[in-house]
């Protein structure tokens, strides 16, 4: 078979010549509006995950011309996804990266994605709102940094995203201010979720069914979840409401162009200190797409990497970096666990991995010796993940490992998503080595602070009690795991202390925007995807409002940074 004939989505771009893959039909196509490189589009978006995919959809629906580029392949889940952990590592961002610091991060699997749809293609679908106070954690709770956005405004955008993804969730949510009922009913509990519930009830804390972005009823061409349990290896039935099957089909229908296998290496900035487009690698060579605005949505490592790799003589420290904060304040979330064996058969591989949750320690401030909070959820590791956990975190190998693995169907676990504090020393910088595109690779440096350790210790002690109360034996703790990545281009009210403003617009370059988890000033104790998508929806609304007032670059008369932001902040 010739290269031109190949339909290997990892080898040859699929979204070309006026059509893109139809994710709902094997071998199918949908029409796609295409733009020429030399024609400046309103927005070029780098990345198509929770931030970029959502924003591409919203901006296209608002009538802007949009080209969204993704370094990864354009999959049709129904035909491309196997029920196999090894095969599905093709969803991960596995380009070369160096990880160092006192607590080096494990990258590549649960905290990255390289596909159209980004890491939402393999995320665990947990869709939680921030606790309202976290948007003002410095002022109200005494730690971290305040967001420049009011929680009541976010509450409306959360509702929009929950509706857009038909989140399945409980009728009443036990924590926080009133929220609308979730659009779709909650999924049934599996045995692993029952263990969480039993532990919570024994210790007197609330629990609930986890709000999840996977269907509990039919939706269009997508079927309800069949509980096959491969969620974090990619959903082969399209029940998962990833950006790939939600925002992106909407974006195409509204006229956006998606370019797969398109790696952006540099943002071009002109002599007026405005960006003019992006250099991207596709089909074996470099291209340049002109654009009136550039949005970087590559997640917390690739976003700062691109800004730093785009340095020029006039922007020696990288773009949008007059604050010196690009790459700094990287925040992962702690992901420690307590595991044990039940007499009962649990078979936690069935169903979404985290069907039950408690956010008790996100909302309860008494009895803590640390700032921030954590949620914990039931778990359902597949065999490779579980074996690797026993090997890496428990140090088992040899006969002990293969024997312990035969207890697989009796394992129950509780795992946190814990808040880690922003620290400038935790950061993304450029290493001297280069990748397959000739671009300098990122060096990711991470060290926990004392508060991070105290939160982890508190969670492990509490979850150990909960698992004991649920009847587990042979309990042990997994101390080293982390998950989502945020920070590195934080939003704020002060150009000296942040990279972008509340609208995700960079302080330094008014037509350069950042719209992904990078903009988080703090991470809270919940999975970030719902908040990233809510921010993207808000950003799209703000861009539309600014465009109507003639405040986007090229439309406004005043060119100074102060004037531009005085205007946008006054609305």
């Amino acid at each position: 078979m010739s290269v031109e004939m190949s339909d290997d989505p990892q080898a040859t771009p699929r979204a070309i010549e006026g059509r893109a893959p139809d994710v709902f039909r094997p071998g199918g196509w949908v029409p796609m509006r295409c733009h020429r490189d030399e024609d400046a589009v309103d927005f070029v978006i780098v990345g198509t995950g929770a931030g970029g995919g959502t924003l591409a959809c919203k901006l296209a629906e608002y009538g802007f011309s949009v080209v969204a580029l993704d370094a990864g392949p354009y999959f049709r889940p129904l035909e491309d996804f196997a029920s196999d952990e090894s095969e599905q590592t093709k969803l991960y961002w596995t380009d070369d990266r160096i990880s160092d610091g006192a607590n080096p991060l494990q990258l590549g699997s649960n905290n990255s994605g390289k596909a159209v749809g980004g890491s939402t293609v393999h995320f665990a679908m947990v869709s939680l709102r921030f606790r309202p106070e976290w948007f003002k954690s410095r002022t109200l709770l005494g730690y971290g940094a305040d967001w420049p956005i009011d929680w009541r405004e976010m509450w409306n955008y959360y509702t929009e995203v929950e509706q857009a993804l038909k989140i399945s969730g409980p009728i009443t949510y036990p924590w926080g201010p009133k929220r609308p009922r979730y659009p779709y009913r909650a999924h049934p509990l599996n045995a692993a979720a029952r263990v969480l519930a039993k532990g919570c009830e024994a210790l007197g804390v609330s629990w609930t069914e986890t709000p999840l972005a996977t269907l509990s009823a039919p939706r269009g061409l997508a079927h309800p979840c069949v509980y096959r349990g491969f969620c974090v290896a990619g959903c082969s039935t399209n029940a998962k409401q990833s950006a790939l099957v939600t925002w992106i089909p909407r974006a195409l229908a509204a006229g956006a162009e998606i370019r797969d296998l398109a790696m952006v290496g540099r943002i071009e900035v002109d002599d007026d200190d405005l960006v003019s487009g992006v250099h991207y690698h596709r089909g074996g060579r470099w291209h340049f797409q002109r654009a009136r605005n550039v949005v970087v949505a590559g997640y917390a490592i690739e976003t700062p990497r691109l800004l730093l790799n785009s340095a020029t003589d006039r922007h020696r420290d990288g773009l949008a970096n007059s604050s010196g904060l690009v790459g700094k304040n990287l925040m992962t979330q702690s992901n420690q666990a307590v595991w044990g064996l039940m007499d009962d058969e649990i078979r936690s591989y069935k169903g979404p991995p985290s069907l039950a949750i408690t956010e008790h320690w996100n909302y309860q401030d008494k009895g803590k010796d640390f700032f921030g909070g954590y949620a914990y959820m039931s778990q359902g590791p597949l065999p490779q993940l579980w074996a690797n956990t026993l090997a890496q975190a428990r140090g088992l190998w040899g006969a002990r490992l293969v024997e312990e693995m035969t207890n697989y169907n009796h394992v129950a676990g509780l795992k946190i998503v814990g808040e880690m504090l922003p620290q400038e020393r935790n950061r993304v910088t450029l290493a001297d080595e280069v990748d397959q595109y000739g671009l300098r690779i990122p060096r990711v440096t991470y060290s926990w602070c004392d508060n991070d350790r105290r939160l982890i210790d508190h969670s492990l002690a509490f979850m150990t009690r909960a698992l004991e109360a649920a009847g587990a034996k042979d309990i042990w703790t997994q101390d080293d795991d982390t998950c989502h990545l945020n920070g590195t281009a934080r939003m704020g009210d002060d150009p000296r202390a942040s990279v972008v403003d509340a609208d995700c617009r960079s302080w330094d370059i008014p037509n350069l925007w950042i719209c992904d988890g990078s903009v988080f000033p703090t991470v809270g104790g919940v999975n970030p995807s719902l908040t990233i998508q809510a921010i993207a929806c808000r950003t799209a609304d703000r861009i539309r409002a600014m465009a109507r007032r003639g405040e986007l670059t090229g439309q406004r008369a005043t060119g100074t940074r102060t004037a531009a932001h005085a205007t946008s902040a006054s609305s």
């Binding site: 491309d80 082969s236 690797n388």
Partner: protein, 222 residues
């Protein structure tokens, strides 16, 4: 200290269960069939490693995931070899670690040098207990031969050797049957999710002394 050199005492908890009996059923989609068929066709001829490297890797894999002699072995070393041949990476490495292919070559060379320095014999000729002893020293960060270069032996042991070998073993259907996992599940999925609940297409766990009952059920898992 735990004696790692003993063979595994594997209870036959899922007698007569073979996850591959499901491969033509509703739990396997075409893509899964294609991927697993490729894996099952892997032969014990290296494509990435040299013949001597491959022998050493086989000896190490036998210590990390010892296998019972009662069934055909999982070709763990060959599966690791294929992953490296296909250049499948993890997406990160510790400071001082080479990329995965170079790390494996260097790590094997260093382990061989350590064996010869400490015991005057190639690694593959050492007793299982001695092989384990050497691997424990690597795990503990105690090996310092010049061949390691800037790579810490504990990083190689944990992040490369242990990681890749364990994942290779549990990528194989034989291992899935051994632990009673339902296996691939698209599009059929599961219905019975609750405590002690089991779909007819999942294996039954044997209660001690009642293996025949479970075996009878498991022979019909499709």
């Amino acid at each position: 200290m735990h004696d790692r050199s003993r063979p595994p005492a594997l209870p036959n908890r899922y007698p007569d269960y073979d996850v591959l009996a499901k491969r033509n059923g509703e739990s396997w989609n075409d893509k899964t069939r294609e991927v697993i068929a490729e894996r099952l066709a892997v032969t014990a001829t290296p494509l990435f490693f040299s013949a001597s490297e491959f022998l050493l890797l086989e000896a190490i894999a036998a210590r990390i995931v010892p296998q019972p002699s009662s069934r055909p072995p999982i070709p763990v070393a060959a599966l690791v070899d294929r992953k490296l041949h296909a250049d499948v990476a993890d997406g990160y490495r510790a400071d001082g670690m080479p990329r995965h292919r170079d790390a494996w070559r260097r790590g094997l060379r260093a382990l061989e040098a350590e064996a010869r320095a400490a015991f005057q014999r190639p690694f593959v000729e050492l007793s299982e207990a001695t092989q384990d002893e050497l691997l424990r020293h690597a795990e503990a960060g105690e090996l310092k031969a010049a061949d390691w270069g800037g790579m810490r032996c504990e990083d190689f042991f944990k992040r490369r050797l242990l990681h890749d070998i364990v994942l290779a073993y549990y990528a194989h259907p034989t291992a899935w049957s051994e632990i009673g996992w339902g296996g691939p599940a698209s599009p059929r999925g599961y219905v019975r999710l609750d405590v002690n609940d089991r779909d007819p297409w999942e294996p039954a766990e044997a209660e001690p002394g009642r293996e025949q009952e479970a075996a009878r059920i498991n022979r019909h898992v499709r």
